[in-house]
């Protein structure tokens, strides 16, 4: 069984030629009463480091399921999932948790920022959980908020911010521990077209400048121009749709 270090996951992948994400014949089905619904029917996917990939498809087609499997939140029924060369299928729950903490940054559709905490404290949270000192975490949070264009709003309650600003805080939080893999679940679903485009431009810039691998699940075709590659999930299989940028 592979083991995962909670502090330095990328030390295990010195070879930059290794794919950030590699899926082989991944299947997943859900039982709904008597009926078994096959959501993923042998999905294959390779995403290189620093690549920005969009997964497209209508609601309920299994995009979020696929993202959850890549994010080690859900286990596939069968198939192989590798993150930076490490097979994650055999990892215990605690190891998958540690891998998520150190390697994956999540941007959620509904942000899920903690009520009661300021923007800065929300960004500090993953750092504090990772054992970073409060002072260093604060410094890093300020830097990230500046990066996403929220300088001067560090002490603001996200409940008083616009949805676009909240999504920026969520992106800053996802970047807090400098994870090599960013997973975004419908990041523009709550945003208007203009704000959505701004957020996706920001995500792409961050991916390119900081060499993050970004996988975005969306059904918003207006933002496809920010992807390196676009895949469409059709009948449980992934089909490369186009190369956008």
């Amino acid at each position: 069984m592979a083991t995962v270090s909670s502090t330095a996951p990328l030390e295990r992948v010195p070879n930059s030629a290794i794919d950030a994400v590699r899926l082989e014949h991944v299947t997943k089905s859900y039982r709904r009463g008597e009926h078994v619904e096959q959501v993923l029917r042998g999905v294959d996917l390779s995403v290189a480091r620093g690549e920005c990939v969009y997964l497209l498809g209508p609601s309920g087609c299994g995009k979020t399921t696929l993202l959850s499997i890549i994010g080690c939140v859900l286990r596939p029924d069968s198939g192989k999932v590798e993150l930076f060369g490490t097979e994650v299928g055999g990892l215990a729950e605690a190891e998958r948790s540690a891998l998520r903490r150190s390697t994956i940054g999540f941007v959620f559709q509904r942000f899920h920022l903690l009520r009661g905490l300021t923007a800065e404290e929300n960004v500090m949270l993953p750092l504090i959980l990772a054992g970073v000192s409060r002072r260093a975490a604060r410094r890093q949070a300020r830097r990230l908020l500046e990066l996403v264009g929220l300088e001067g709003r560090a002490d603001q309650d996200p409940r008083l911010m616009s949805v676009g600003q909240c999504q920026r805080v969520a992106i800053a939080r996802a970047l807090a521990c400098d994870p090599p893999l960013l997973l975004a679940d419908e990041p523009t679903a709550s945003l208007d077209a203009q704000t959505g485009a701004k957020v996706m431009r920001l995500l792409r810039e961050l991916a390119k400048t900081r060499q993050h691998t970004v996988i975005v699940v969306t059904h918003d075709r207006r933002i496809l121009e920010y992807a390196d590659r676009v895949f469409e999930l059709e009948a449980g299989r992934l089909v490369e749709a186009s190369t956008a940028a």
Binding site: A94, S102, L114, R115, E121, L125, L129
Partner: protein, 373 residues
Amino acid sequence: MWGIATKTLKADPWKCLMALLGLTFTLVLMNVQGGLFIGLIRKVSLMVDYGDADIWVGHRRMHNVDFAEDIPAAWANRIRALPDVETAAPYLIGWSSITVPGGGREAVVVVGAEPPELLGNAWNVVRGNPRDVLRPDGITVDVYELPKLGWPRIGEVREIGGKRARIVAYTRGVMGFLVAPYVFTTFSRAARFCRKPPGACSYILVRARPGADLRALCDQIRLRIPEADVYTRGEYSRLSVDFWMRRTGLGISFGAATLLGMLVGLSIVAQTMYASVLDRMPEFAALKAMGIRNRDLAIVLLAQALFLALIACCVGMVVVGGIQWAFSTPRAPIWIPWWLSVGSCLAVVLVALASAIPPYMKLRQVDPMLALQ
């Protein structure tokens, strides 16, 4: 982690307030119930605790200071002969009745102390002098018992057991566990009031010489008077308390009420914290997706519980102080020793920490997928 815990807690001010109310209620109930119980139970052994005697000698199987059997007063002479004894005097606690204006009578507990030491005489005298009982027909009564006695004034004459008695002094707060008021006087006068046979008394009160070993002295007295029971002040005080506790179930009654208060507090706080966790389920799911450890979740919840408990202890003790100031009377004293306050605060902390268990169990089961749905 402490900052995250308290800030997320304060983000739900109403739930935070509800939990605080639950814990504060628990603390107040424990202190007031406990204080009432201790105040009441202290009255059981009041005569022993304040009687100024080091050793109490009484009849075989003596168990309660207010219900004494007669013993020979002459035992005092045998005890006085012991080298470690400074004073040994007969003491009387008996029942009689006092006349009240309008022709009625009121039952009283007559306490008689032997001159010249007057060992076991009234204390906390607020009008007159404790030794005024040496004046002809002199008796001392408590100011809080005056309504029962028909508001007798100093110098007023009454009859106790058909004998003339004159009120010469008032005590304040010398009230026993029983409903009958205490009347202090001299030993011989008390014997007349209670129609005791000559040479009979209830106890021999002994004051030891300074530095004497009281337990050894008790053994010496037992050797001299094998038919007597002999106890140090502390022993007889505990024995009197045990008597009432066992015979009346007083401890069970107060203990049950206190336990109920704790359970009510526990359920309020646990329910509030649980509801708060349910409200924040997607946030916690997101945290789990981000890889938060169950240990960290436990720390957050425990920190929240501890924070609530500390606030509740501070607020609760102020409330308890107010209740004690407003409602504690000599008739129903609320006596709160330091160990009760400290103990109740610790109990509240435990209640709060225990309240964090159900929400923690819920959080352990939260599926991180919830954040992605």
